[in-house]
Amino acid sequence: MHRHLSRREFLATTGALASAWIGSDPGAFARALEARREQEPRFRVLAPEQAADLEAIAAQIIPTDEFPGAREARAIVFIDRALEGFAKDQLPTILDGLEDLSRRIRALGAPAGRRFAQLPDAQQVALLREIEETPFFQQVRFATIVGTFGHPSLGGNHEGSGWRALGFEPRFVWQPPFGEYDAAVERGR
């Protein structure tokens, strides 16, 4: 499937491109590009900049470390779908919350139009601390958790990456021993 990348998509791809080159694998570029395309979902409810802000919040709630976070899990895809479906009623709270964040960013003296997703980490965290008791933040936290650890069929937890981060293996078929304590008993027999 061929399509032209927009400038924004192109810029977004460059990060992945750079890391792909470091891997010095000739196939990696194509794969990274394809992965990036998959990561640009067509949102159903959210405008791209709203999605980018919410994704940035989600990525602060469940950050990426040596294990995948909300971003790799594509929690934002779940959030967008939820706001179209069962969480439709929460859309005003979410949009108001994003507006409120924009006001707070302006109050910090940031250049006009600067969005949450564009702020440095420390500023993002400081802003979220200010609002962590609000219904907006609580709803985004809830949706981020479901979008990261919920079933992949819901749109998030991409390829089980959230489960991997938790230490849950989605094999769904197991044989004993299951854990270290029952294994020790088994060995003692």
Partner: protein, 548 residues
């Protein structure tokens, strides 16, 4: 499978296809009668069950729920009603037997005669059952062998005429630790009997240890739901049809006071009258009384079979409380069945404690990923952030090292705990919704607290790094729906007789959790199914003798 013509008279209409209804259908159909089962929920087959925790467990897609059947909840007499789901059940073919955790404890002989053993308790309707353990024992055995139960008798178990059909499921780390802690305290841990197959049985597959039992249907058919066991047998007789998405709104009676059939809504919400020679209601302890209350007529102005005024009263939820513990190494308790070991040392009510009640404790793990991440099941260490890197690292650190010890306890039968029709609220079909009044009796709360202390002590004796327990015990939601059409010999003080026949209506039978007189110790399904086998046996005999 038989398909009855619309309006074709059947011997029996069975309302509900769950733990009791499925058994009833199979027994009556194999006894040679025509049986139409009307189930309000959809039919899903094993391969359609998924591990979508959010949709199924958190949103409750297969439960009764707000959008379809809202409820008003009254948290105790005189309290302001709130619009809230309080009596939860599963609405699908197989009902709660598809979705339950699959703990499968028999009652003990004492459960049937606590009033005689303990004396009356003021302000409660504590009564003996009209039947004994000895009378029910053959049917417990039949249930275990027809449905498939894995277990091993424990030191306090009541006498049994046959061993369990399947050996115990493999012990999990939570079970190993729980057993170790319990033994250190001089207790008698035992294998938790589970209605899940440890080996292939009756053509069904053994458990694959996927870890998704409680609140999920089993895609391997290893959980011994009525959907996986008796319902296919009933259908194979050619005399039974299970009609899904058929929501019964009224039981009709003749001028002579006999049931003539039921009125139900089909999937398109068209109304039908279904004639039957007799009706057996197995709709659960909330919907069975509601259906009777909905079935008012000039002859039965207070609701069908309600001359005692007790329909809907004496609702019992059982007490349930969850403690937790973190251990040094990985338990990985998110694998396999919920429960492998239990402690029943505190089963009996002991007057020396100063309150009525008893229960059991099991080791398990409520470790579905979303549920865990949302709140650590109440067990995140004090002061840990609810988001950010530290939060994420904590989740990973704790997830595989955590387990729970749940307590399952008695509820006293209190008349004011009840199911009624709400005067205002209507469901999606325009029928009056349920109003649920419930408040735990102070002895029920004391029992939960007592058992929780024992549960925590066991986990500490097992070497837990950290344990936690709930701060408050009063419940505002119930999943065990018991006692609302209690059985008894006295028509003034019970709704059905010892054979589950309504005292007031000769061809109406009620058999499910509503028949319970006392609550047992928090694992009612085994007894619901034994009662259904026994009731069906007697109903078939009555029918053959022309006594219905």
């Amino acid at each position: 499978m038989r398909r009855f013509r619309q309006g074709e008279t059947v011997d029996f209409v069975v309302v509900g296809s769950g733990a009791a209804g499925g058994v009833m259908a199979k027994e009556l159909a194999t006894a040679g009668f025509t049986v139409l089962v009307l189930e309000q929920g959809p039919r899903l087959e094993a391969h359609e069950f998924q591990h979508d925790e959010f949709t199924q467990f958190i949103l409750g897609a297969l439960n009764n729920r707000q959008e379809l059947q809202p409820q008003m909840y009254v948290p105790g007499v005189g309290a302001e009603p709130v619009r809230q789901m309080a009596a939860i059940y599963h609405r699908l073919v197989g009902g709660g037997s598809v979705m339950f955790t699959a703990n499968y404890w028999r009652f003990r002989a004492s459960d049937f005669r606590e009033r005689s053993l303990l004396g009356p308790i003021e302000g409660t309707g504590l009564e003996d059952w009209p039947i004994t353990y000895e009378e029910l024992e053959p049917y417990y055995t039949k249930a275990e062998w027809e449905l498939g139960v894995s277990g091993e008798p424990g030191p306090f178990d009541p006498p049994r005429s046959r061993p369990y059909p399947c050996p115990p499921l493999p012990v999990k780390s939570s079970g190993v630790l729980f057993e170790r802690g319990a033994r250190a305290l001089g207790l008698h841990p035992q294998v938790g009997p589970m209605a899940i197959l440890s080996r292939p049985f009756n053509g069904r597959s053994a458990c694959m240890h996927c870890g998704y039992c409680a609140g999920f249907g089993c895609e391997f058919g290893a959980k011994s739901s009525t959907l996986a066991t008796v319902i296919p047998v009933a259908e194979a007789t050619g005399r039974c049809e299970v009609r899904a998405e058929s929501y019964v709104r009224k039981i009709e009676v003749s001028d002579r006071g006999r049931v003539t059939g039921v009125v139900y809504f089909d999937a398109e919400r068209r109304e039908h009258f279904q004639p039957a020679r007799a009706v057996v209601v197995c709709a659960n302890g909330a919907e069975t009384p509601r259906l009777l209350l909905l079935s008012k007529s000039s002859r039965f102005p207070d609701g069908l079979a309600n001359s005692s005024g007790l329909v809907g009263k004496y609702l019992m939820w059982n007490g349930n409380a969850s403690t937790g513990a973190v251990f040094e190494r990985a338990l990985n308790d998110w694998k396999s069945v919920m429960v492998t070991r239990i402690v029943l040392d505190f089963y009996e009510s002991d007057p020396a404690r100063g309150f009525y009640g008893g229960g059991g404790i099991d080791a398990r793990f409520w470790g579905y990923p979303v549920l865990f991440a949302l709140g650590g099941l109440g067990g995140f260490p004090e002061g840990t952030p609810a988001w950010g890197l530290e939060y994420k690292r904590m989740l990973r650190d704790l997830y595989s090292r955590t387990c729970n010890a749940d307590v399952h306890t008695t509820s006293l039968p209190v008349e004011s705990n009840r199911i009624e029709l709400d005067p205002d609220l209507e469901d999606a079909w325009g029928l009056p919704c349920m109003r649920v009044t419930y408040r735990d009796h102070p002895d029920d709360v004391a029992t939960m607290r007592f058992l929780v202390e024992k549960a925590v002590a066991i986990m500490e004796a097992a070497g837990a790094e950290r344990t936690w327990a709930p701060a408050q015990f009063e419940q505002s939601v119930g999943f065990h729906l018991l006692g609302t059409c209690r059985m008894g010999n006295d028509p003034q003080r019970s709704v059905v007789d010892r054979y589950h026949r309504a005292h007031d209506v000769p061809n109406l039978f009620l058999c499910d959790g509503s028949s319970f007189v006392t609550s047992g110790r928090g694992q009612p399904t085994c007894t619901i199914q034994a009662l259904a086998y026994r009731a069906a046996d007697h109903i078939a005999r009555f029918a053959r003798r022309g006594e219905i």
